[in-house]
Amino acid sequence: MTVLSTPVGIATSAADTLRRRPGADMAGAAFKWLLIGATVFATGFLAVLLGVMIVDGWDVLSGNLVHFLTHGFSQRSATDAGVWQGIIGSLQVALVTGVFAIPIGIATAIYLVEYAEGSRFARLVELNIRNLAGVPSIVYGLLGLAVFVKTLSGFTQGKTVIAGGMTLAAMVLPIVVITSVEALKAVPSSLREAAYGVGATKWEVLSRQVLPAAMSTILTGTVLSLARALGEAAPLILVGAATGFLRFGDANFAETFTGPYTALPVLILNFAQQPGDDWGTNAAAASVVILVLVLMVNGVAIYLRNRFEKQW
């Protein structure tokens, strides 16, 4: 018991023992710098990546950029080849992805949050969404090949932008659902009660109060999911985005949805697999193009979030 009593000499020695000793927290300082190093590594490689791609692709980016952006693929020479078809194809695929994933995703989220919280079917849907979110993208390619390209060929016309877009829609669906669920849950229940209190039906409460309130967050999530779709190549390879020569003839806009197509990341794969430094330059330049594209879309998402951010 005596050991636990107050230190006797404290009054005289307090000043000394409380003083910051130089080097007392060396380990702490080292640890902090280690963590900063890890953080810089984790986030800084984007800058290195961008730098390397710009340097490697400089010949194209500085001298040949307009040609590169506006011309189609060429089997003959690297300097003739461009990414125009890839850009158009990627945007078309993203459009189809959005058309399918956004309504279904948001509607599923509404069902989960507003109609069925806690029901057995809702739990099944939730579990299913969580598991789908972890399925590797290439597995969605198998789904697309079997279902969208073959079984539904009457609708998709086979290996087309529509089949590709539907495949990616299945892939990003979990992301849209998860972000929309979070957005809807963030809407305070007092808003719903207020609307019910003046005699609105459930649909009126949803369409006029809850959805407008949650829309900015939902929008941010969906834009991010489209960015993900823009950069994805693996499933598109399986559902037939052309990786080689592609005629881009006189087809009008509508017809391009049902004809052969390619996508920017698939073109990059092609460039990267060709022998020779010229193709390497093309791969790097195309990487810069897709990075800029994806960063721009992300920028839009971040802008939307900051612009409409609400405090509940």
Binding site: L4, T6, A11, A14, T17, L18, R19
Partner: protein, 295 residues
């Protein structure tokens, strides 16, 4: 058996209250010089800011050694904020700033060369909600001594002593290696007290240690506080006036002032021996509060 012990403890509470009166007499009023007691803390003109917001204004009071000093007042009056000035816990809050002086045995705790970590080793703290680590009972108490470099062989001894001191030994001695989360709320809080005193601090700060506990567990903690003050200086924040009356020697009453900008700033209204505060307070606001007319 437990039933018996509980009633026994409840009956002992008045005894400790009786002791308070004695020590209260030995203490000179308010902030005047103490004659018969050593002063541990001398605070003067303490302001606390969170960013631009002033949470506490111009607090001046002294804390005497081996006494229980209670900080009471309505919620939002800054009593917890003030408690956290004593061991520089406010440093952990982003944007918090303390002005004025807090002298500890004559050393200004807020001068640049003071290491807040060393301060906290001497000035222990028990928190509002029991916050044992998700470790075994043993490892919870061993945490502090290990930081201080205690030898492995000494640990068993320290743990037993701390648990005995915190009146928990009998209940847990057979399951020291099991999780602290298996204990009841009251036991967890006594474990936290044992953890705090295992590093042999000079002062123990308690931030509403009983607010999350049932009356029986509260009674035990109060009894423990009365015993601990023979070895430690205790500063306790409580929203329970009866508790302050039962266990403390000195009482500081804080109140909230509504500023013209609509913000609330806490201030010290009255600081006096507990018996004085609870029988004939000098300030109208104190009287209103303790008689239950406000807050």
């Amino acid at each position: 058996m437990t039933e018996e012990r509980v009633t026994e403890e409840r009956e002992q509470v008045p005894v400790s209250t009786a002791r308070i009166d004695v020590s209260g007499v030995t203490t000179a009023a308010t902030t005047g010089t103490r004659t018969e007691v050593n002063t541990v803390f001398e605070c003067s003109g303490v302001d606390v800011y969170y960013g631009d917001f002033r949470a506490l204004r111009d607090v001046t009071l002294d804390v005497a050694e081996h006494e229980v000093t209670a900080l009471i007042g309505p919620s939002g009056c800054g009593k917890s904020t003030f408690l956290r000035c004593f061991n520089r816990m406010n440093d952990l809050i982003e944007g918090a700033r303390v002005e004025g002086t807090v002298n500890y045995h004559g050393v200004d705790l807020y001068q640049a060369e003071i290491d807040p970590v060393e301060v906290r080793r001497r000035i222990g703290m028990v928190f509002q909600k029991p916050n044992p680590f998700p470790k075994s009972i043993y490892d919870n108490i061993a945490y502090g001594p290990r930081l201080a470099g205690a030898r492995k062989s000494a640990l068993d001894d320290i743990i037993e002593r701390s648990l005995i001191r915190a009146a928990l030994w009998e209940e847990v001695k057979d399951r020291l290696k099991s999780s602290a989360y298996g204990l009841s709320g009251g036991q967890q809080q006594r474990l936290c007290i044992a953890r705090a005193i295992a590093v042999e601090p000079d002062v123990v700060l308690m931030d509403e240690p009983c607010s999350a506990l049932d009356p029986i567990a509260t009674g035990r903690i109060e009894e423990l506080i009365a015993e601990l003050k023979t070895d430690y200086t205790i500063v306790i924040v409580t929203h329970n006036m009866q508790q302050a009356a039962r266990i403390s020697d000195m009482t500081a009453f804080f109140s909230v002032q509504l500023n013209e900008r609509g913000t609330r700033t806490g201030e010290l209204v009255e600081f006096a021996p507990t018996s004085h505060i609870f029988t004939k307070p000098d300030d109208q606001r104190t009287e209103a509060y303790i008689t239950g007319r406000v807050g």
